[in-house]
């Protein structure tokens, strides 16, 4: 659901990958040494088996510490990954169909004008401290937390339409009514918003201390949710331990109270290479496989007793885009971009040639070890329902690309190997990307080579993330950038990127009126899409939007990496999906008898 620039974590890749390759090829040698030097490790002794599904534990790793346990203030995944086990929303997204389903609300009604939504809450739900859950908590979460003017949060921005909040009222203890200012299609999915306990947080709000409540220094006992697990221990830099919430409301189809697993442990392991070693050693049960790990891990499946699941294309896209901002600096009056560069970048032929020149197969081979998918649609296949394949797909074809450029007047007039435009300006420009994300750096390097094959001169530079952001959002002085966005299911949440007035409409942000007809049409489609409640009718709008983006190429997409997860064969009920990954049904997963 969250759309965010994928900021990379630390990555030691190239060298450490090499180390691993060298070392692992010589495993026999190493094991020999180790056998002589040390006693081989003892196998963990099998505990007594209990003939039922309850108990046991699952150990996961994460690269960084959570920043807060306060779900409203949480800004990034290292925190939300933790809070997602503790808190529930009124609705949830089905990981198989990506449709919205009842969760804390057992059902709902909508008025014929689509503005008044009444939610009927599940009976008998309790917070993990035993206190009953009621409509008061829902009203509190919206009126006192999300709409509280003193609490800045992205939830407030999502649930405010044209400056107007929703009206949230309690009808009775188990019924809540939402009144919307206008029709808002993403509303139901948005109701996946975590509900927080009034009885625990009321005082913090009254004291105006909510922003600093439930930080990482909080006693885990205080953090109370309705989710399947509760936090029992947090050792900074080391581990998070969750225990089963004994009050959890959900039952299995057989009528057994969920969740089954007694404990879930997150180990904080900053280095992905060490995560891999720990997975192979057996201390971690789940490992997110990088493309470079696959050729090594796959053959070990049987011997080491795990399974690598291919979850399909990742949500995160990588793309190149060009500065089409025709504005000038408000104080100095200097244009953000020289006129001739602006002319190239706003020329559709130029962008089409680039789209044809990018060798996506090569990127997949080199960057993803062959495990990736070319991307052409602006809503990736991971989004399920709203994704369409019916867009213009640009095959890698240098000849066509060169011809498009030549026909549009870009030719090598002085035989120096570099193209010039009709006025004689050399096609030379800067290409930026952010340092620190090795995958993106590799992609940018390949694109650079591809464009140079086309006869352009590229000055490639990787910038610190913050530097790049200030170029994109405040100084606007840049030519071309390779960047990524993590996608989500709900297309409307990409509005800030696609609407011409959006601050993240990166190729030409903050437009007062749409600069081009196609940008105007995309604006219209987003307005139509957000006010149409029928999913099927919405899809028509977003299909057209994807078609326009593929024709006009404001962002030129590259490839999506394959998501792969390796899981130890200790668990039953694993149902991995593209949207939900391996853990979307964590509460239903239990340990095999022999694994306990």
């Amino acid at each position: 659901m969250c759309v965010m620039i994928a900021r990379s974590q630390l990555n030691w890749s190239p060298l450490s990958r090499w180390i691993r390759n060298v070392l692992f090829r010589q495993r026999v040698f190493f094991s020999l040494i180790s056998f002589c030097l040390f006693l081989p490790s003892l196998l963990p002794s099998a505990e007594e088996t209990i003939p039922q599904k309850y108990g046991g534990q699952l150990v996961i790793s994460t690269v960084s510490d959570p920043k807060t346990f306060n779900d409203i203030m949480a800004k990034e995944t290292s925190s939300t990954i933790v809070t997602s086990h503790i808190f529930d929303g009124l609705t949830t997204t089905n990981a198989f169909t990506t449709k919205v389903e009842p969760h804390l609300a057992k059902s709902w009604q909508v008025s014929s004008d689509g503005l008044v939504w009444t939610f009927f809450l599940r009976e008998g739900v309790r917070w993990n401290d035993g206190a009953p859950f009621s409509a008061d908590d829902v009203v509190f979460t919206f009126n006192d937390l999300i709409y509280n003017p003193r609490i800045p949060s992205s939830a407030k921005d999502v649930f405010t339409i044209d400056g107007q909040p929703f009206k949230v009222e309690k009808v009775d203890d188990l019924t809540v009514r939402f009144t919307l200012p206008v029709k808002f299609a993403p509303f139901l999915r948005g109701m996946g918003q975590a509900i927080l306990p009034k009885h625990k947080l009321k005082k913090a709000v009254e004291d105006e201390a909510f922003n600093f409540t439930w930080g990482i220094d909080t006693d885990p006992q205080e953090i109370v949710g309705t989710g399947p697990y509760k936090l029992v221990r947090y050792d900074p830099g080391q581990r998070l331990i969750f225990e089963r919430n004994p009050y959890y409301w959900k039952l299995s189809p057989e009528g057994e109270q969920l969740p089954y697993l007694g404990r879930v442990v997150y180990l904080i392991v900053p280095s992905a290479d060490v995560q891999l070693l720990k997975f192979l050693e057996g201390t971690i049960d789940i490992y997110n496989v990088r493309g470079s790990d696959f050729p090594y891990l796959k053959p070990l499946e049987k011997e080491r007793n795990f399974t690598v699941y291919d979850l399909g294309p990742d949500m995160g896209s990588q793309f190149i885009f060009f500065n089409q901002n025709n504005g000038a600096h408000p104080e100095t009056g200097k244009a953000y971009l020289p006129a001739h560069k602006l002319a190239w970048f706003t020329d559709l032929n130029f962008r089409r040639a680039v789209a044809h020149a990018i060798d996506r197969k090569k990127i997949i081979e080199i960057v993803n070890n062959g495990l990736g998918y070319p991307q052409y649609s602006s809503i990736g296949p991971g989004a399920g329902f709203f994704h369409t394949e019916e867009v213009v797909q640009y095959d890698f074809d240098l000849k066509t690309a060169k011809k498009i450029l030549a026909d549009a007047g870009y030719q090598d007039r002085n035989q120096d190997g570099i193209l010039e435009d009709q006025e004689g300006h050399r096609l030379e420009f800067n290409l930026y990307t952010n340092a620190g994300n090795t995958e993106r750096l590799d992609i940018a390097a390949i694109i650079r080579q591809d464009l140079e094959n086309l006869g352009m001169k590229i000055n490639f530079q990787s910038l610190e993330f913050n530097t790049l952001v200030s170029k994109l959002t405040s100084t606007f002085e840049w030519d071309a950038v390779v960047l990524g966005l993590t996608g989500g299911i709900e297309p409307h949440f990409g509005q800030n990127v696609w609407h011409s007035s959006g601050g993240l409409h990166m190729w030409h942000p903050n437009q007062e009126t749409p600069a081009t007809d196609w940008e105007k049409r995309i604006d219209e489609l987003f307005s139509l899409g957000v006010q149409e409640l029928s999913e099927d009718k919405r899809k028509v709008f977003y299909d057209e939007f994807q078609m326009i983006v593929s024709q006009k190429l404001p962002l030129i997409y590259t490839v999506l990496s394959a998501q792969m997860t390796a899981v130890r064969n200790k668990f039953v009920n694993l149902k991995p999906t593209n949207y939900g990954g391996v853990l979307h049904n964590l509460e239903e997963i239990y340990m095999k008898k022999e694994a306990r």
Binding site: I33, D157, G237
Partner: protein, 323 residues
């Protein structure tokens, strides 16, 4: 002596203020600020980002922000981290201790191994033992510590002899005191060795060089001629003189205790300051960076002072009384 120490502390105050100011300027004048990640997140509106700017006082003039920070420091309030929304001290506290434990272990290990090695090598100059030590020193000097850490971790994963990163075992809580100590020592082994091997090689060579120089002096010849036992010549006369330059070095080493281990900490999953500070600098979490910078500086000053005092103790020619 006490007067001298007091004077040194007084001099330290303006130095610390200057360091703090320069850090502050660096953090503010490099492009971007903490809110940039939010600016690139489609779910945040401009109003919310402005709200955050006010909350974190990023909209105030630079000098005002700095003075406010200094004022808070004097009251021992190090401010709130933007990222975590909790006081900086809360975040750093435990991690500072962990880094300190690791650094001390590596410090003791380095000096404990390097000095005897250096002395042995000097006394057996050009014999096979010396050559062997020098050969391995060259090898270890050229191996990057993080590479070594990876290799050690790999070896550990194959043998199961040592734990793979982290600081304590999962069942740490159930152990008695002795087991706990042993558990931490086991977890310390790999990061300590990885951190130390390079410095051992370097320090050993310095020690050997100093020792050789002193052993060639006339007074050593004199001592030997006088018929003093070799033990006394080496350990009483030569060593005391040879070790002086190393004491100065020790002061510097002390200051790098908190900063030198970041890379190894990240690889070995040691819950110290390393990864925390790296993200703090990159995400421009100013007060978190400032607090750790300040602590590093204090250690640096204390380290230098300690070295000077130790030097005075070791070398009777140095006196600070009148200084």
């Amino acid at each position: 002596m006490w007067g001298y120490i007091l004077k040194r502390f007084l001099v330290a105050i303006p130095i610390l203020l200057a360091i703090a100011f320069v850090t502050f300027l660096l953090m503010r004048f490099t492009p971007g600020n903490y809110l940039d990640t939010m600016r690139m997140d489609p779910q945040y509106s401009k109003a919310t980002i402005q709200h955050y700017e006010e909350l974190y006082q990023l909209d105030k003039p630079l000098l005002q922000q700095y003075l406010q920070w200094i004022k808070n420091i004097l009251r021992l309030e190090f401010g709130y981290s933007f990222y975590y929304n909790v006081p900086v001290v809360q975040i750093i506290g435990g991690r500072l201790w962990n880094t300190f434990v690791l650094s001390c272990a590596s410090f003791l290990f380095t000096w404990g191994v390097a000095l005897p090695l250096g002395i042995t090598a000097a006394l057996r100059r050009n014999q096979w033992l010396d050559r062997l030590i020098q050969f391995f020193s060259y090898v270890w000097l050229s191996v990057p510590s993080f590479f070594l850490a990876m290799i050690l971790l790999y070896a550990a994963s194959q043998t199961g002899f040592l734990p793979l990163g982290g600081m304590v075992s999962p069942n740490f809580e159930e152990m008695n005191f002795l087991e706990k100590a042993l558990d931490i020592l086991k977890h310390l082994a790999i990061p300590t060795i990885a951190l130390s091997v390079g410095s051992i090689a370097a320090l050993q060579r310095i020690m050997r060089g100093n020792m050789l120089e002193v052993l060639g002096q006339q007074y050593i010849l004199m001592a030997r001629a006088k018929g003093l036992p070799e033990n006394k010549v080496v350990y009483h006369h030569a060593l005391r003189n040879a070790i002086n330059p190393l004491i100065t070095l020790l002061g510097y080493e002390f200051s790098s205790l908190l900063s030198g281990a970041a890379l190894i900490e990240i690889i070995c999953g040691w819950p110290g300051l390393g990864a925390l500070m790296l993200t703090a600098v990159r995400s421009k979490d100013i007060y978190l960076v400032m607090a750790s910078m300040l602590m590093g500086s204090v250690l640096f000053i204390i380290g230098n002072l300690l070295a000077d005092i130790l030097l005075a103790k070791a070398d009777p020619r140095i006196r600070y009384e009148r200084g």
